[in-house]
Symmetry: C2
Subunit: 348 residues, 2 copies
DNA sequence: TGTTAGCACTCATCTATGAGGAGTGCCAAG
DNA sequence: CTTGGCACTCCTCATAGATGAGTGCTAACA
């Protein structure tokens, strides 16, 4: 496979840039006139034909200009694009939007996704931290009715998880309180990812084996932690912003997209994928996601942290044709702001 | 104002029925041919002209048939329509859909709204019970960091409410535990709607006035109950079903609708209105809601109960032109099924 | 007086047609 | 290798006419 020459890249870059701005196929004339490339349109045409042959561009029909293929777009994103720095005014506005907020974690994440959608004029998305990424703070068992107990789990970061347990036999609130007390002491500050192991270890201890109370408490807690500490939910906000994009002016397409977003589990999967190798802002084109329903969309995402702990991912969902050079810095900045907000020595 | 004659009503009924089925303006010929009214189309035309003058029908343009106005639709719903009974097969399917469910209340409500959307092929909506409609079961204060406490409130029905409190001075977990203990005893089983009053009463008691612990506990609890026990959230599911309706095939309109649904507070307001006079299935046309953004939609709603206690509202949101005679029984049946599920002597 | 057939008229929708224009590919000359 | 020129393609848009559903009105009829 041939390398792209400097000029090839310039032309490809110009096509993508123009296409992102206008959404229309780009002609050779436009390129030679508007993008300081000092050759004639005929030359550009030759270059474009080459780029098409290599799979970077395509023509919707014979007498139209070129639009980038996914491959072309990917090359642009990886090698050609340079994102503008975010203007101070804009930074200030985003910072402002975070002001005056409840400290509640979920509320914060919800607001973050609204902020993303608003400043990028696309759909904003925030993946919750997994419970496993935070530390144990408190567990409580509350008897709602005979043989039915609600377990409430609170993490140090203020994440709440509840869980309805059906019991084989009834247990009184007094005894449940003892369970809580014991477990709270035992698990205080343990990372929730390790809790299961800790419980298993504890169950082997002699004092536990011979003490009904302890062993029943541990058994019960197992049922709570058995649950999906790995699973998580997301906030998606500003879906209707997607109507702004002319490429979604086709009803069928818009419907497909919204249906895909309605089933949040798919989006969770998509975001989870990017969690595996958390490296700054990343762009996932729909075609790279192996999810058929998401072919036509693009995700700009960034992980967010508390100190060194990776908590989750946030980002923006929009069409393939997006103003990446603007949105990338916004996502980056928002992620860093959120991370900063969550940073706090006392929590984790 | 003149009364409508029997025939007028028949014609109006036929127009609405046909319009609901086809979505197209209905002509005089269609009526005289298809709806066992034994007069000629010319006569029908006269009747229709009268109905138009009275504001029950309107013509999109001179050479088109008639479609019902809101007023016409309202008359049809109130006086003419008779909803079919739900087929046994369908009842069974809905019942089936509720099978094998976690007992968790929120989960149940969420599922309910999915069921509504699925069986009616429109958007399903379920308003959460207000906290004030249930009874106190448990309160817990957990210290997350210095001067920051998470308060968790659990109702007997298994509703969870949490609340982050910022304190002026730090309070240790030990003391917080005493607060919880005291409050749990004091408020056990008190309807949450009455809790505030109870607390105020308690604060006046001598033993409380002179005991720091008691009074601080009550103060703290006030901050929890001060919050909006009246507010509630909703589940809206199956929004994309709205794409099925040809009247929403206009992008602009669809966008307006989805934007209206995205801001859930409006829909909450709409549902809240119907809560005030809870009487079986009720239909609210957008134009009757005083909310500009909802002009083009219609809500079929029914309250759901636990025993005698009104918990919330569920329903279906769709276009004005809906198959009411089918959806009404579905909503009615679903509401009664849900009420039945929630019915349980031990809870409230 | 109410009902009906008939007829002229309106107007949205559909189809065909053609002009206009953006953009291409290719060729021959520089 | 680059460029100007030219024929060609094909999308888009506007126009015009045909079609047909449906109406309002009138005159005749029971």
């Amino acid at each position: 496979m041939t390398e792209l020459t400097k000029r090839d890249q310039e032309v490809l870059g110009a096509v993508v840039t123009d296409y992102i701005q206008t959404g229309e196929p780009v002609g050779s004339r436009t390129i030679s006139k508007r993008y300081g490339i000092r050759v004639s349109s005929a030359t550009i045409r030759n270059v474009m034909a080459d780029l098409e042959e290599l799979g970077f561009l395509l023509q919707p029909h014979t007498s139209a200009g070129r639009i980038p293929t996914d491959k072309g777009l990917r090359f642009y994103l990886d090698s050609l694009m340079q994102s503008k720095a975010l203007e101070d005014a804009e930074r200030a506005m985003i910072r402002q939007a975070f002001q005056g907020m409840q400290k509640d974690l979920k509320e914060t994440l919800h607001r973050t996704s609204r902020i993303l959608s608003k400043f990028c004029r696309q759909a904003g998305v925030v993946l919750w931290p997994k419970l496993s990424s935070t530390r144990f703070r408190h567990i409580e068992f509350v008897r709602l009715r005979p043989q039915q107990v609600m377990a409430v789990l609170i993490s140090k970061s203020g994440l709440l998880h509840h869980n309805l347990l059906e019991l084989k036999e009834d247990i009184g609130q007094d005894e449940l309180d003892k369970y809580s007390q014991y477990l709270n002491e035992l698990l205080q500050n343990v990372p929730l990812g390790e809790v299961k192991r800790r419980i298993l270890a504890e169950m082997k201890k002699e004092k536990v084996i011979f003490d009904q109370l302890y062993s029943r408490a541990l058994e019960m807690s197992q049922r709570v932690f058995h649950e999906n500490l790995e699973s998580s939910d997301i906030y998606i906000e500003g879906q209707t912003n997607l109507f702004n994009n002319p490429e979604f002016s086709d009803m069928q397409r818009m419907r497909r997209i919204l249906e895909a977003l309605e089933d949040k589990s798919r989006i969770v999967k998509l975001l989870d994928m990017t969690l595996k190798t958390p490296t700054g802002v990343r762009i996932t084109l729909g075609s790279e996601s192996e999810l058929d329903e998401l072919q036509e969309i693009s995700l700009i995402s960034s992980p967010y942290w508390r100190g060194d702990t990776l908590l989750g991912v946030l980002g923006v969902i929009g069409p393939l044709r997006m103003d990446y050079s603007r949105i990338i810095p916004v996502v980056e900045f928002t992620a860093s702001l959120l991370s900063q907000l969550l940073e706090d020595p006392e929590t984790c």
